[in-house]
Amino acid sequence: MSDTTVDGIASPDRRLVRRAVIAFCVAFVALGVLIPLRLLPNPANRPFGWQMYSAVSGHHYEIRFSDGSTETADPGHYVLRYRSEVDYRRYLPDLICEKMPRAAEVVASNPLAGTAESYPCKR
C-alpha cells in the first residue's frame, strides 16, 4: 500500500507528500474541533465557532436629547453588519454622539438581562 502513488509524484518526494497530507489532515481536524470547542462556553454567536443563530443580539440603543425627547437608534445605521459577538457599547455611544450633535446621552439596554447603561455625550 505504501508504494501507491500520490497524484503521480515519484519517490522519494512521495514519502514527503504522504507525510504532508497526513499532517495537514491531522491539523485540519484538530483545529476544526478545538477552535469551536474553545468558543463554545462563550455566550454569543462567536466567529469561527459555527454558532449561527444561537443567541439574540444583546443591546438596544436609545438616544436622549438635551430637550428631554428620545429616539430609538438603529445600530444598522452606524455599523457595516451588526454582529452579536461584538460589544458595540464600546463604540456605538461615541459614534452616535458624534453624528447627533443634539444628543445628550445614549442608553444601551439589554431587555433579556434587564439592564440599562447610560453613556453621556462628551461635548
Binding site: M1, C25, W50, M52, Y78, L80, Y91
Partner: protein
C-alpha cells in the same frame, strides 16, 4: 491503533470525481453570489459615517474603484472554479480574496464566507476539476482523485452541524426566544411560547442528526432529504438573505460528496 493505520492509508485513498465536481460547481455558484454581497460590503466600508473595526490596522481598505477590480477578479475566479477551468489557479486566487475580506474588518466575518473559504481550499486540493468540468471534457477522461480532501469536507459538515447544535443548547435558544425573533411568518407572534420551545428543540435535534446521519449508509438518503428540507424551511420562514442561500448551497454541495465512492483506487483509473 486502528486510527493510526487509517491515517496512514489516507493519502492512498481515491474518490469518485463526479460528486466532487458537482460540489465544486455548487461552491462556485456560492462564490458568485457572495461576490455581490462582498462588493456591497466593501463599498460600505468606504463610507466614512460607518463604524470600522479593522482586525489588522496595516491592511488597507479598498477605494470604490479598487472594489470593482476586486469584484471583477473574484467573479472571474469564481466562474473559472465553477466551470472547472484552471481550478488550481482560480482556487488560490479566490482563497486570497476571501481571506482578505475575512481579515479586513471584524464586521465582515460571516460563517458562510468562512465555510466558503474552507470548501474552496479543500476542493482546490482535491483536483476537483477532474469531474464535471470543461477541463475534464477537454482531456476526455475522468480519473479518480485524492480522497482525503473529500473526507475532510465530510468531517467539516459534521463539525458545522455538530457545533451549531451544541451552541444552541442554552436557555435563551431553548426557550424559543431566538426563533420568535428570527422567524418571519405572518401571524407567528400569536403562537404560544411552547410552540417556539418545541421548534427550538426540533432545530437542535435536526442539526445533531445531520452531523452524524450522513456517515451511516442507510441513513444517508434520509439525511439528504432532511437536510434539504431543513435549509428550505430556513429560507422560507426566515428573512431570505443571500447569506442563507449561500449557506444552503454550500451545505448541499457537501451532501453530494457523501454519495461518491472512496476506495483504495484499484477500481477507478488513476487520474
Amino acid at each position: 491503533m486502528q486510527a493510526v493505520e487509517t491515517l496512514k492509508r489516507l493519502p492512498d485513498l481515491r474518490a469518485d470525481p463526479i460528486p466532487v465536481g458537482l460540489a465544486r460547481i455548487g461552491v462556485g455558484v456560492a462564490a458568485i453570489i457572495e461576490a455581490f454581497e462582498v462588493r456591497s460590503e466593501l463599498n460600505q466600508l468606504a463610507d466614512p459615517d460607518l463604524l470600522k473595526l479593522p482586525r489588522l490596522e496595516a491592511l488597507p481598505a479598498l477605494s470604490p474603484a479598487w472594489v470593482n477590480i476586486f469584484l471583477g477578479v473574484w467573479l472571474a475566479a469564481a466562474l473559472a472554479f465553477c466551470f472547472g477551468v484552471r481550478v488550481r489557479v482560480a482556487g488560490p486566487v479566490l482563497l486570497g480574496l476571501m481571506t482578505y475580506v475575512l481579515v479586513l474588518d471584524y464586521q465582515l466575518y460571516s460563517n458562510h464566507l468562512y465555510l466558503l473559504t474552507i470548501l474552496t481550499l479543500l476542493l482546490t486540493l482535491a483536483d476537483s476539476a477532474a469531474g464535471l468540468s470543461l477541463e475534464s471534457r477537454r482531456r476526455n477522461r475522468v480519473g479518480s482523485i485524492p480522497a482525503w480532501p473529500v473526507i475532510l469536507m465530510r468531517i467539516q459538515l459534521s463539525l458545522v452541524y455538530g457545533f451549531a447544535a451544541a451552541a444552541k443548547l442554552n436557555l435563551v435558544y431553548l426557550s424559543g426566544l431566538v426563533l420568535r425573533v428570527q422567524l418571519q411568518v405572518p401571524g407567528i407572534d400569536a403562537l404560544p411560547a411552547w410552540v417556539f420551545t418545541l421548534l427550538a428543540l426540533a432545530s437542535v435535534g435536526t442539526e445533531a442528526f445531520l452531523a452524524v446521519a450522513f456517515w451511516n449508509r442507510r441513513l444517508r438518503p434520509l439525511a439528504f432529504f432532511v437536510g434539504i428540507g431543513f435549509h428550505l424551511t430556513i429560507l422560507i420562514t426566515m428573512r431570505v438573505v443571500p447569506d442563507l442561500i449561500t449557506f444552503a448551497i454550500l451545505m448541499a454541495s457537501v451532501y453530494v460528496t457523501f454519495f461518491g465512492s472512496v476506495d483504495s483506487g484499484a477500481r477507478a483509473g488513476q487520474g
